[in-house]
């Protein structure tokens, strides 16, 4: 009961915050700073060295970054497409200029925004200013007052929290040390290489030794620049004993006309640190969402990945934890939702490289209206990593005859003194549960909604309350449409 009350309060608070942001936005519209803007004439179809040089030049980047971009581009050209996962044949990579359009967030009129997205805004009660931003009608979402206050607090603790472009200007050495070096090198896969060549946007977080940030860094609410670049690059560094929670994305649908999004996230969780990275994604269904996210986890450090993947047409997402130091730990919690026309290929990857390292993966997927979910996972324990453990639980729920789900787990255990377990279920709504709930006087639809909400509850409860409430509402809407 107490918990429920709390959720009510939080919903209320969340919507108040929304309202106050909206009103401050109106007042501040004059003071919105434009993001570093760059533009170039497209005289050639497809990506070329020339285009990449133009991007780098227009952003005034140091030469090493340009060289990095060019080297990435070379790798991109030589790398084959992934030999697993969903069909990417409709992704037209020969016409990449469409994807790297420098405005990133071009504005459009409301009449271009699809009906289903507008309907969802209504249903979620998204404030008008946010709708404009999310639908791409306004170029950016700004909340400078809030942002400035938090920024002051963070600065006093020595925390760096800024856009990647700004960090490249103001903390060049730090960026140089961590940007696509030891965590996600450009050559990791074709899309990380493409990302290395054309990245823009994203954020940079550096938390000094021993600093514990209590308030989660919620990038959607507090960064004053367009967060949703198509190739945003995020780096989070938690120095020894530091703690940080980082939340990006939002549950409201985010309309994009660009059909390829390929982000890279690099996390460095050093000795005794604790990092929680939460992402919620609800891109429109025309989007290919192909990301690379990885964390290097040091001695006795804890890395938590929490993700809600709701939108986009095709998603490939396998957050990876490399447990490098003794006693390192990784928790991966994920909800993937696939509705009409959606293919979700997602999972987790954990590499145990030290003794006494532990990982837990919990994945819940829901398929409805013809959607398809694949869980794809790899847990690897290297020789000598004694006393380590890995446990994977993935459950897939299929809500109708049109939909499907599959599970492709893989465990490579190369040490004897470890514990490893994998549990997977794939199933429909249990007839017995449905019968029980209906016999208490609730409709089949409502009973289904309850069962589904219960199914994802173990992951939902790790999300901030307002996100959990909204994810539930979105899934409710899909069930109503069954």
């Amino acid at each position: 009961m107490a918990k429920e009350k709390k959720s009510q309060e939080i919903i209320q608070r969340a919507s108040e915050t929304g309202a106050s942001i909206a009103s401050s936005l109106a007042e501040q519209s004059k003071s919105i700073q434009n993001p570093p803007n760059f533009s170039f004439k497209v005289d050639e179809k497809g990506l070329s060295e020339h285009v990449i040089r133009e991007i780098s030049k227009s952003k005034g980047e140091p030469d090493w970054m340009l060289q990095k971009r060019l080297a990435s581009y070379k790798i991109y050209k030589s790398k084959p497409m992934p030999n697993f996962g969903p069909d990417l044949s409709k992704l037209n990579l020969d016409d990449l200029t469409n994807y790297v359009r420098p405005e990133g967030h071009s504005t459009r009129s409301w009449s271009e925004v699809p009906d289903d997205i507008r309907k969802t805004f209504d249903r979620l009660g998204v404030p008008a200013a946010e709708r404009d931003f999310l639908a791409g009608v306004s170029a950016q979402y700004d909340s400078e007052v809030l942002y400035n206050n938090i920024q002051k607090e963070l600065e006093s603790q020595g925390v760096i929290f800024m856009s990647m472009d700004q960090a490249l200007r103001e903390h060049e050495e730090l960026v140089k040390k961590y940007f696509m070096t030891t965590c996600v090198p450009a050559g990791d896969n074709k899309f990380s290489a493409l990302h290395g060549a054309v990245w823009s946007g994203g954020s940079f977080v550096h938390v000094p030794k021993g600093v514990k940030i209590e308030r989660p860094l919620q990038i959607y609410f507090i960064m004053n620049y367009p967060q949703y670049g198509q190739f945003e690059h995020t780096i989070i560094i938690a120095e020894e004993g530091a703690e940080v929670q980082y939340i990006e994305g939002c549950t409201a649908p985010h309309y994009s006309s660009a059909s390829l999004h390929s982000a890279v996230v690099e996390i460095f969780a050093k000795k005794d640190s604790r990092v929680r990275y939460t992402s919620v994604q609800n891109w429109s269904k025309n989007v290919y969402n192909l990301n690379t996210k990885r964390a290097l986890v040091g001695e006795n450090a804890t890395m938590e990945w929490i993700s809600g993947t709701l939108g986009s047409g095709v998603t490939m997402l396998y957050p990876c934890s490399v447990l490098q130091g003794r006693g390192a730990r990784a928790d991966h919690l994920a909800i993937a939702f696939a509705g009409e026309g959606q293919v979700k290929d997602s999972g987790a990857k954990v590499i145990h490289q030290a003794q006494d390292t532990h990982s837990v993966v919990v994945s819940k997927s829901i398929s409805i209206g013809g959607g398809h979910n694949t869980y794809r996972g790899l847990e690897r324990i290297l020789p000598g990593c004694k006393g380590s453990s890995t446990h994977v639980r993935c459950d897939s729920m299929i809500l109708d005859e049109l939909s499907s789900a599959s599970t492709i787990p893989s465990m490579q255990i190369e040490e004897k003194d470890v514990s490893a377990g994998h549990e997977a279920t794939v199933g429909r709504i249990s007839a017995e549960q449905l019968m029980y709930l209906r016999s208490r006087g609730i409709s089949e639809e409502e009973a289904t909604r309850l069962i589904v909400a219960g199914f994802i509850e173990p992951v939902l409860k790790a999300l901030p309350m307002e996100y959990a409430v909204e994810i539930n509402r979105l899934i409710e809407m899909e069930i109503e449409g069954m």
Partner: protein
């Protein structure tokens, strides 16, 4: 059809049920008035639990015959509607629904039962549920658990009784509520049900294999079921006879 004075009773006549074409109930008739307790006894496989499932509307059963609740045709209704007009089944083994918070769930079914009246607020519901839980000696922390998930046998039965108290049914089907309970637990749960029944005057159809529970929930009528038929009906003494002599001795005697 001409309007008849609606008889207030749960009236079952010539009820037949098959599952995958296999006959389970082969013509069962009985009528329960508000405030009455009827016990249906029988050996395993006699079809007594199927009687409950047929009445509540379990989808895989093919049911024919008649079943009316205060004059309304149960068999023509979807499951949830049967519950709404006042039929409650206390399950022999209630299924767990992981992740579904009990407080949330109870409020959902409470509001569904009250519809079309507007749903009551969370604080209002809290008062209602706390009152019922206090009477049932249930701890408030129970509400934070997931529905039937990891519940002991006794906890499951108490949770069923709590739902019964909240939904205020007119007729209650108790499907082998004695299974998985020791004598003390059985005595307590029986007392709770009896108290509710005295207060609210609902009719009870009690399904059991053993006469033991009938010491606590004294039936007005006892029916003995065998191979999908009621083979004998009588008063409380019939139960005593079964307890002493077994089903074989009361078999074959006309109802």
């Amino acid at each position: 059809m001409p309007a008849k004075t609606r008889q207030r009773e749960l009236r079952i006549s010539n009820l037949r049920a098959t599952i995958s074409k296999k006959p389970i109930l082969q013509g069962v008739s009985l009528s329960i008035s508000p405030g009455e307790i009827h016990a249906v006894m029988g050996p395993n496989g006699s079809g007594k639990s199927t009687l409950c499932h047929a009445l509540i509307g379990q989808p895989d059963l093919n049911v024919e015959g008649k079943a009316e609740l205060d004059g309304e045709n149960l068999l023509a209704m979807p499951i949830e509607q049967r519950a709404k007009i006042g039929l409650f089944l206390s399950y022999q083994n209630p299924v767990a629904v992981p992740g579904v918070n009990l407080a949330n769930y109870l409020r959902t079914i409470y509001n569904a039962a009250r519809a079309p009246a507007p749903p009551i607020s969370i604080p209002e519901f809290e008062k209602v549920v706390q009152k019922e839980m206090t009477t049932l000696r249930m701890d408030e922390s129970f509400l934070e658990r997931y529905l039937n998930d990891g519940f002991s046998g006794g906890e499951k039965k108490r949770c069923e009784t709590l739902q019964m108290a909240l939904l205020q049914p007119k007729y209650v089907l108790l499907d082998e509520i004695d299974s998985g309970l020791d004598v003390d637990a059985l005595r307590i749960i029986s007392k709770d049900i009896l108290r509710l029944q005295k207060e609210r005057k609902f009719g009870i159809l009690l399904i059991t294999h053993y006469a033991r529970i009938l010491q606590f929930l004294k039936p007005d009528k006892v029916h003995v079921m065998r191979a999908g038929r009621i083979v004998r009906s009588g008063g409380h003494l019939l139960a005593d006879k079964i307890e002493k002599e077994g089903y074989a001795q009361v078999d074959g005697v006309d109802a």
